[in-house]
Amino acid sequence: MSYDESGLSKVLRPLTYTSRKFYMFISILVIAIAWFLYAWYVQLKYGLGVTGMRDYVIYGLYIANFVFLIGVSHAGIAISAGVRLLRVTVLKPIVRMAELLTAVSLIIAFMNVLFDLGRPERILNMFAYGRWLSVLVWDMTSITTYLVATIIYLYVTMREDIAICAKHILKRSWLYKIASLRYRHDALSRKAHEKAAWWLALVILPIMVSVHTVVSWVFGLMVRPGWYNPFFGPYFVTGAIASGVATIIMVAAVFRKIFHWEFLITPQIFRILSNFLRVVLAIYIYFMICEQVTVRYLGPAREKEISNILFFGNYAALYWFVVIITLAIPFIMLSIYTFIPKFFSIKLIVLAATLINIGLWVKRIIIVIPVLLRPELPYPLGVYIPTWVEFSLIIGGYAVAALIYTVFVKLFPIVELAIVSSHEVSESSEIQLKIKKHPIAALAIIGFLILISGVLGMSYVKYPYSYPEIPWAPAAWLLGIITLLSIPLAYILSFRE
């Protein structure tokens, strides 16, 4: 097996060579995380009173940031699955960056939920006493399934690369030998992995849509003016894809700059991403117009009041900043090169993506907070000013994300090595996969049956406190994860010639 050594060594360079800047970056992150842990300790000790949230403003920056991060998580898998299902080979170099972005931002989103809970140590109550009827249990179910699916998908698509690393990077080959789980390097297992990844991509896309729909329902199902809105689902999903694609543009630009991967991350990739982002942004702006026209034309007084807070009130500055600086102007920046080709520049696209991300972060705040400032029973309009604890926890969350991402890039190749390898594995369509009766398949089926009976048994346990109750909500979660695991298991472990 031979590889184009120059391309491969350039891609593997972050794994073999560590500069002083890396250690400086890591130590900055560690300091930030230490500060974040102190702030979290303060919040756990004195209660959520150390934040700016009070009686009526029950959700603040944490939940807005959570919604934003769930949004960022979207595009990763969307792009990766789209590339796999639609065979957009041009985008292949950024696929793994996008997948990793999804996994990391989901983990940090979950951390933000923990920040927001009054009693984070009781989070396991969600499993012990989870209720089917609660929209938060739907949230937990679909987000956890999404995270598990992402990690499985990420592993399935990179197992071959880890095995290649075991040969090329000798100083850590023990790590890669363990991590590749005795990968057999041949055309057959490559085909099996491709098949498994294809099916996983197909399964993940609907999970992805469900995740942000369910997150939007935390607001959209509450009967409050400004939230109670049937189209919150598509509205949030569109915003999520916009912020996700914008984040991927930023991440790709950072890698291009730091590792000098101009040969890999071509302007063509930025052009495709920005074309896609422009369309999503247009849909998002259209949704915003629809929302405000519906509210303001003959809308009830309460709805108009929320709209007035945004248009002319306390949040007018933020609202118009979002609309003009971070939505309208980036839209022009992303569209102008279609009319005047000489205006195409990667810097312009990255700037537009950065603005869009800032704007969508602020947009999440002005979705959550103005509605809470005007409670169901009248109260003089209050203010919400986040405290240092909230800012520390949020910045600390991003520091943890950066740390996970950096360490991953240091340990594993962030670009699919198949792109830079000159050696083509023989055209895989000739190989036929056949089911081979394998003990693991039988074990999986037996385990599944045991689990079902366990679930049934659990459903007869009476919870004295939960009324009205349909028992054992986490069953859906467990079944989803087992189904997901069964795909790679079926293909990789039990299918052999």
Binding site: G47, G118, Y129, S134, F219, V223, E376, V455, Y467
Partner: protein, 259 residues
């Protein structure tokens, strides 16, 4: 298994529990819709507590509010109370123009006290992810502060702003601690009016009912047609707050005669 093939055997074995599971869920849904509607059930074993507030008697003195804070061991530093009183201009029945923060009692205003309505179809119970809030047989919506994870979704769902979150650790001077009521709740959980269960189980009335200087509050059993509240609701023009939402609140407001 002579003529049963392995395939069909596996099929039956795997499908049966799934069908059982589905039937169990459907059964649960059926039971659920039945139980939530049982606000007017014929099960009279338990009393069904309700409150009637006579708005023509309420003078907006907020004595009920301060008494409630003392009775229920609400932290003096928590900055909340279960009861709120709104001042409304005469001739208006729109709670949206009410004023919670009035500082002096005015003759040309009328006052409407609001607390947890103990709804028969409560949205807070529906959204709670861990079943920490639920309805007792007496119709009271209870909060289990040992199970609550503090997600505050119930507060977002409640249309009456009746629920309070412990942002800080509540502090009550030890000589003012009420030993009969629930001890102070920890920081990070939700609490609300529960119709003073420590008094009601001893045959007393809730503290706000007893303390009201004008006797504007009445408390009793809706299942008993001879009780004071049942008669008051039957004999007077009565209404409930935000009835149109359909959550079936159980605090009735009446107004009779002049103020």
């Amino acid at each position: 298994m002579g003529n049963v093939s392995r395939r069909s055997f596996l099929k039956v074995v795997s499908i049966t529990p799934i069908l059982l599971f589905i039937s169990k869920i459907l059964n649960g849904f059926a039971k659920l819709s039945g139980e939530v509607d049982s606000g007017s059930s014929n099960n009279n074993i338990f009393p069904k507590y309700a409150m009637v507030i006579d708005l023509s008697k309420c003078i907006g003195c907020r004595i009920c509010m301060y008494a409630c804070i003392k009775e229920n061991n609400i932290g003096r530093n928590s900055g909340f109370s279960y009861i709120k009183v709104y001042a409304l201009p005469r001739g208006v029945l729109d709670i949206d123009v009410g004023d919670e923060c009035y500082t002096e009692i005015e003759e040309d205003k009328w006052y409407i006290p609001v607390q947890c309505m103990q709804c028969d179809d409560p949205p807070c119970v529906k959204v709670c992810p861990v079943g920490a809030t639920f309805k007792l047989e007496t119709g009271v919506v209870w909060v289990d502060h040992r199970r609550c994870i503090g997600c505050r979704l119930c507060m977002a769902a409640c249309p009456y702003n009746a629920r309070r979150f412990n942002w800080v650790w509540p502090e009550v001077p030890s000589n003012e601690l009420n030993p009969n009521a629930l001890p102070t709740r920890p920081a990070g959980v939700v609490e609300k009016c529960i119709f003073c269960p420590h008094r009601v189980t001893r045959g007393l009335k809730p503290r706000c009912v007893v303390e009201c200087p004008t006797g504007a509050r009445y408390f009793g059993d809706l299942n008993d047609p001879e009780s004071e509240v049942s008669k008051l609701i039957k004999e007077n023009v009565s209404f409930r707050l935000k009835e149109e939402l359909g959550y079936k609140p159980r605090i009735y407001y009446i107004a009779r005669g002049s103020k």
